[in-house]
């Protein structure tokens, strides 16, 4: 088991003939992901190293039976691409595109909620998802992910930040801890999938025995996660929140990472998570070590 994606997931890449889509799509296939097609309007009939290209998501789904989509198109085109995938019946959409306007994200999210409730969007502006050994959609380097062990315990990872997702994978690999699924939800103001969505899935997944969560300053997603953990998560957790020293009013790279009006501080988030029983590390390594302790106690 894993969450959201596994060895049976069939993926199409929207924007496969573009630079990013081609590079990461081929890497994902090389990892073992079933990349069954690509979509670029006007390029039907072509192929990218054997992967057939279609004019529309609908055509691609009909021909390949794809269940997931990987969107690697520019910000202007991303909202329409997400909705096209949803309309074609794709159940899981990963959008790595950075720089989608917040107003577009809000409209896309509301449209999915109203018209396509079965479609789950991951991102935009996220590194993607990897269920090690089974499926890798997005830009994560598969080599740094430890395979889950058949007997467990295995850890689920959920993170708002790209490179810190890798850092978390790496910390667990150093400790020899298997990963069930690693989800990068992205740091944008309106992410399609939230911490809470992932925590609920990890809680229900029999192959996941503990959860590590990487948050950052800005918004209230970590506080909402803490509330959910208190009520619904029984699996042990460790966490790290980036941006303890970030000055107020300065956006730290992501559209979402900003402390404003005394809200969204790392301290507030750490306190909320500790109250929910999560072991909080002051840096990624410490969060990894705390997870190692948890895993040893489970063995």
């Amino acid at each position: 088991m894993a969450i959201f994606v596994d060895q049976n997931t069939k993926v199409i890449v929207q924007g496969l003939t573009g630079g990013q889509g081609r590079f990461h799509g081929l890497r994902n296939r090389a990892y073992g992901t079933q990349v069954v097609g690509g979509v670029t309007p006007g390029k039907a009939g072509q192929d990218v190293e054997g992967i057939p290209v279609f004019d529309s998501v609908e055509d691609a789904v009909k021909a390949t039976g794809a269940t997931a989509s990987f969107i690697a198109v520019p910000p202007k085109a991303a909202p329409a691409a997400i909705l096209e995938a949803a309309r074609a019946g794709i159940g899981f959409v990963v959008c790595i595109t950075e720089g989608v306007p917040a107003q577009d994200e809000a409209r896309v999210f509301a449209t999915l909620q109203r018209d396509y409730p079965v479609t789950r969007l991951l991102g935009p502006n996220c590194p993607g998802i990897i269920s090690p050994g089974k499926c890798n959609i997005g830009i994560t380097a598969g080599e740094i992910a430890q395979l889950p062990s058949a007997t467990g315990p295995n850890v689920g990872i959920v993170s708002r930040s790209g490179t810190l997702t890798y850092q978390a994978l790496y910390e667990l690999k150093q400790q020899g801890i298997g990963v069930s699924t690693c989800v990068g939800i992205g740091g944008d103001p309106v992410p399609g999938t939230s911490f809470v969505d992932c925590l609920a899935e990890f809680q229900a997944d029999p192959e996941t025995h503990a959860i590590i969560m990487i948050g950052e300053i800005g918004g209230s997603a970590e506080e909402e996660a803490a509330e959910f953990i208190t009520k619904h998560v029984t699996k042990p957790m460790s966490a790290y929140i980036a941006g303890v020293t970030a000055p107020a009013g300065k956006k730290m790279g992501h559209a979402g990472a900003i402390v404003s009006g005394g809200k969204g501080t790392a301290q507030g988030k750490m306190d909320a998570l500790r109250m929910a029983g999560v072991k909080v590390g002051l840096n990624p390594t410490e969060a990894g070590s705390l997870m190692a302790e948890i895993v040893h106690s489970l063995r």
Binding site: R27, P75, K76, G99, P101, A102, Q103, D104, A106, R107, F109, A110, T111, R114, I139, T140, A141, E143, I144, S159, R160, S161, G162, T163, L164, T165, Y166, Q167, Y170, G187, P189, V190, I214, E216, I217, G219, S220, A221, E224, Y240, A242, G243, V244, T245, A246, P247, K250, K251, M252, G253, H254, A255, G256, A257, G261, A266, L282, N283, P284, T285
Partner: protein, 381 residues
């Protein structure tokens, strides 16, 4: 991107939101010209992106040219909470019967738009929220349904806006919502939103923050970018296409990825140091980017050591290492570098760094983030 008041008002005007006639002035002479155009009495307002301008003496009423000369002279060049006043906005003084508050933002938790409306305007909304939370009406708006005039009017009724202002406020809310959505604002706020004795509703102030991700469909935003207040280091970084934020410490930071860069700041702080900046070099970390990043850090006289924290994901360790070696050769650095290189092919990368013939006094390598931070902080002391 935050707009100055005068830019916010000009932006509002594009969406037919009533604002006072006025103009911006950089000198006393310009202020006099604008005052003649706006007609006396006028208000001289300092243009800085910080609250509390009035209390600091940055907003003055002027009844004639002499008073404009006096006030504009005092306000231009004034320091308000660390912000230098480079320009003033001159507008015709408005008669005020009542002051309200209205704003639209995105509520990230609800993933919907949020209207905040209060009959108690003219003070900071945080103060109202603390003193009397029931005085603020909060209304969520579904982004694909939008805000109707009827809903806006009901919100105004709920906020206890007096009956003579209801239609004006409702109309204003619909226009402000259009400015917020079509205008791609992160925040569109009017405080105070005034009722004039004559019965008209009017925006006396404007606080607008734009979503830079939407720049591609707003070519008109270029003029705003030109007036953005960046320090010299931030200006240089922007020219080089780097994500940089200047801070006050002594350890220069370069990392790949915003999260890792933030985390690097945290770790430096935990081991007793202070970061001179936030710098996200992005995924590539090649020689060109690294050179540009080092040049920006090198321009900061406060920097005593430089911490490079790279996690190789798709970018392999040896490529990163080659980039660093090349960059170190190109830039004549004033401070020593400590590198933590980890991830894909980190071993090979570290070997390249070790074999590059760069003296230890200039560049050392540490295996973990924490050890690298300790070394960099020690060098900065």
């Amino acid at each position: 991107m935050d707009l100055f008041e005068y830019q916010g008002k000009q932006y509002f005007a594009k969406y037919n939101i009533p604002v006072s006639a006025g103009g911006v002035a950089h000198t006393v002479d310009e202020a006099l010209v604008e005052a003649e155009k706006a007609l006396y009495p006028v208000v001289v307002k300092a243009q800085v992106q910080v609250g509390g301008r009035g209390k600091a003496g940055g907003i003055k009423l002027a009844n004639n040219a002499e008073e404009v000369r006096l006030h504009a002279g005092n306000i231009l060049g004034m320091d308000i909470k660390g912000h230098l006043v480079k320009r003033v906005w001159i507008e015709h003084a408005s008669d005020i019967a009542e002051e309200y508050y209205a704003s639209f933002t995105l509520d990230r938790a609800a993933k919907q738009h949020l209207l905040m409306l209060s009959a108690q305007g003219g003070v900071e909304i945080e103060v109202v929220a603390e003193r009397d939370p029931s005085a603020i009406v909060k209304l969520h708006i579904n982004p694909i349904e939008g805000l109707s005039l009827a809903t806006a009017r009901q919100a105004a009724v709920d906020a206890k806006i007096p009956v003579q202002a209801l239609d004006g406020v409702a109309d204003m809310l619909v226009k402000l919502y259009e400015c917020f959505t079509k205008g791609d604002c992160d925040l569109a706020e009017i405080n105070p939103l005034i009722l004039k004795p004559t019965g008209e509703v009017h925006a006396l102030d404007a606080k607008v923050s734009l979503d830079v991700n939407a720049s591609f469909r707003h070519p008109e935003w270029e003029e705003y970018a030109a007036t953005e207040e960046l320090d010299a280091r931030e200006q240089l970084a922007r020219e080089k296409g780097l994500q940089y934020i200047g801070l006050d410490g002594t350890v220069g930071i370069i990392a790949n990825g915003a999260g890792l860069a933030m985390s690097t700041l945290d770790v430096v702080n935990q081991v007793g140091g202070s970061a001179a900046n936030f710098l996200d070099i992005g995924g590539g970390a090649n020689a060109e980017l690294m050179t540009a990043a080092l040049e920006v850090i090198n321009s900061d006289a406060k920097v005593k050591s430089i911490l490079i924290n790279i996690f190789g994901g798709i970018t392999r360790g040896e490529e990163v290492a080659k980039g660093i070696v090349e960059a170190v050769k190109r830039v004549s650095l004033r401070a020593p570098i400590v590198i933590r290189l980890d991830g894909t092919n980190a071993e090979e990368g570290r070997k390249i760094l070790a074999d590059a013939g760069i003296p230890d006094s200039q560049l050392t390598s540490r295996p973990t983030m924490l050890e690298a931070a300790r070394a960099a902080v020690a060098l900065a002391k």
